[in-house]
């Protein structure tokens, strides 16, 4: 199976260095193409951090549209990429993470290039015929569909978190294809974007960040999650308390996020975060496939629900048919006593 020539990974550069999603994508890209390049946006400090880290992940060039200020990334980043591709500097494939900004960039780029996208990718491999085969789940997460592009490239894949594993080059030195990967200094190429006009009109005027205690939901080894079966928004405090006691992160189903009990940042599922903790405790969660899709990678699952027939019991290692309002306070008390 032949490696593609060039793979572009599209991701934001943050001050603290490339995020886990970026590291996952560039690592996965090394198994798909001979050359892995990043297309990004961010200020000088963020770019410097990216250069520092990504050389060790096999990235050889970083294209950047620079600090976008209060603009939203979609139109600018898509325009920057389309400009290069239109001028003949084109990758064989584009990989974008399935974040809000990622979907915006992918959608706009798709329209500008008149190239299709394959989204919600949970697997991406080289295929026997030249090209890539992508996997995405359908029918509520019960089936995996394999698909590929049939027209001219570059195709655009929108990839879910935790599809690939973040692996620095130093750790392996050799890509899955057997080709030795050497670490070379990263070349930085600034990309000028001509004035956008109307599509660039949206401007961020304020950013609100929720104060976060404890580990990030998609990085926590323990996640304690709540759903409608908790009974009332006040009961969510029990979920948070148990999460804190276990040094984990609190999660939520889409149902209670939509109902306004907790912010979207807590949401686990198809349209929320994908989590792969060592332990997932599902409290008052029925186990709709929309939710399972986001957490079935957990190593161990405990479920508490009053409904004996709730689908969650089909995936839980330990299931308790009971009332969270009764079981959780007792569990918390018991854990506190144990010290």
């Amino acid at each position: 199976m032949t490696l593609l020539g060039r793979v572009w990974v599209v991701a934001e550069s943050a001050r603290g260095g490339p995020g886990s999603a970026t590291l996952e994508l560039v690592s996965g890209a090394r198994d798909l193409g001979k050359v892995v390049e990043l297309f990004t946006w961010g200020d000088e400090a963020a770019l410097a951090a990216a250069v520092d880290v990504l050389g060790g992940y096999g990235v050889t060039r970083i294209y950047s549209v620079g600090d976008i200020g209060p603009a939203l990334p979609g139109p600018l980043v898509a325009a920057g990429m389309a400009g290069l591709i239109g001028a003949g500097d084109s990758p064989d494939v584009v990989l974008v993470g399935a974040s809000c900004d990622g979907r915006d960039v992918a959608g706009r780029l798709s329209a500008k290039l008149d190239r299709p996208t394959i989204t919600n990718v949970v697997g991406l491999k080289l295929a026997e015929h030249p090209g890539l085969v992508a996997e995405h789940t359908i029918l509520g997460g019960t089936q995996t569909a394999r698909s590929r592009f049939t027209g001219p490239g570059p195709g655009i894949f929108v990839i879910r978190d935790k599809t690939f594993e973040a692996r620095p080059v130093a750790a392996s030195g050799v890509a899955a294809s057997g080709v030795a990967v050497e670490v070379v200094p990263v070349e930085v190429v600034p990309v000028e974007v001509a004035r956008l006009g109307r599509t660039g009109a949206a401007q961020v005027v304020a950013r609100h960040v929720e104060a976060q205690k404890g580990p990030k939901l998609d990085e926590a080894t323990v996640v304690v999650s709540g759903g409608r079966g908790l009974g009332s928004p006040e009961r969510y405090a029990l979920v948070e308390e148990l999460a804190a006691l276990l040094h984990g992160a609190p999660g939520a189903t889409r149902a209670i996020v939509d109902a306004g009990w907790v912010p979207y940042s807590h949401q686990v599922g198809q349209t929320g975060k994908t989590v792969r903790p060592t332990l997932y405790i599902a409290c008052g969660i029925s186990g709709a496939t929309q939710h399972l899709v986001g957490m079935k990678g957990a190593r161990h699952v405990i479920a508490i629900n009053t409904d004996r027939d709730a689908p969650i019991f089909g995936v839980a290692e330990l299931g308790v048919v009971g009332d969270c309002g009764v079981v959780l306070p007792r569990l918390i008390e018991s854990l506190r006593t144990r010290g």
Binding site: C100, S110, R198, A202, Q203, R207, T271, V320, L335
Partner: protein, 261 residues
């Protein structure tokens, strides 16, 4: 104020979904209903038009077999009229093909604002809103959980969901906004409104009228194929106990065994 709301008509999610055995794409031959995700778009449109002191809401949809059931639901909520594009050549359209059809329809009317859901309940690619905005040469604010009109109705302020909270974003109209589920409570139409909806206009447009070539849309235009579909390995369930007062102890023991405590 003139608003276009994109609406998808989908097989009822309560029924088990089926795949077309030949194309391995979703079977859409049964009766279709309004995607619940789009009821939020309709509700937001109604509230904004009310806040602006009046206007028109056109629901725009691409659906097979001239389906209008879902559109009547949106009209019952209070939309003014609807536009439907229905053509056999559209079968198997991907996100970009869908965006091309919606864009062509919306170009035929004059609007200040285009509203969509963030993604459809059955396809959930989430790329149609941004592709549509690009094709219409509009700015976009996606994943908006709240929207307000400003500057005498010539611009909007929206709160856009982020990984860690939200960003307040301002934008001059015309613009496209995609709204998250739960952003508002969609109104439940009265019986009278449901009856009145039967007389509201639904304009059908053909691909030819929209100037779209059949090979730019549908399965051919999608330029991708599903090669096969395999079952996902199901997780196995384990022990299930009924709480009779000490289930919490069983959990605590389990946690100890996992060395989580």
């Amino acid at each position: 104020m003139r608003v276009a709301v994109c609406a998808k008509q989908i097989p009822d999610p309560a029924n088990p979904a089926r795949l077309d055995p030949v194309t391995r794409t979703l079977d859409r031959t049964e009766r279709l209903i309004l995607d619940e995700a789009d009821s939020y778009g309709v509700e937001v449109a109604l509230r904004l038009v009310e806040a602006a002191g009046g206007g028109e809401i056109t629901v725009v949809s691409m659906a097979p077999r001239g389906e209008t059931g879902g559109l009547r639901s949106a009209l019952a909520m209070g939309a003014t009229g609807a536009m439907l594009v229905s053509d056999d050549h559209l079968a198997g359209s991907d996100a970009l093909g869908t965006a091309k059809v919606l864009a062509a329809s919306i170009r035929s009317i004059s609007v200040d604002l285009v509203l969509t859901a963030t993604e459809s309940t059955d396809g959930y690619t989430g790329t149609v809103p941004a592709a549509l905005a690009e094709l219409l040469d509009l700015p976009s604010i996606t994943f908006a959980k709240r929207i307000e009109l400003e500057d005498g109705g010539t611009s909007i302020r929206a709160w856009r969901q982020t990984e860690a909270g939200d960003d307040e974003v301002r934008c001059a109209l015309p613009a496209l906004v995609s709204v998250t589920a739960g952003v508002v409570e969609p109104r439940y139409p009265s019986y009278r409104a449901i009856v009145a909806a039967k007389n509201k206009p639904i304009t059908q447009m053909s691909l030819a009228e929209l100037g779209i070539s059949p090979d730019a849309v549908g399965a051919e235009g999608a330029r991708q194929v599903v090669t096969d579909v395999v079952a996902v390995e199901a997780r196995q369930g384990g022990e299930v106990i009924v709480d009779s007062g000490d289930a919490h102890e069983r959990i605590a023991v389990f946690l100890e065994q996992l060395k989580v405590i």
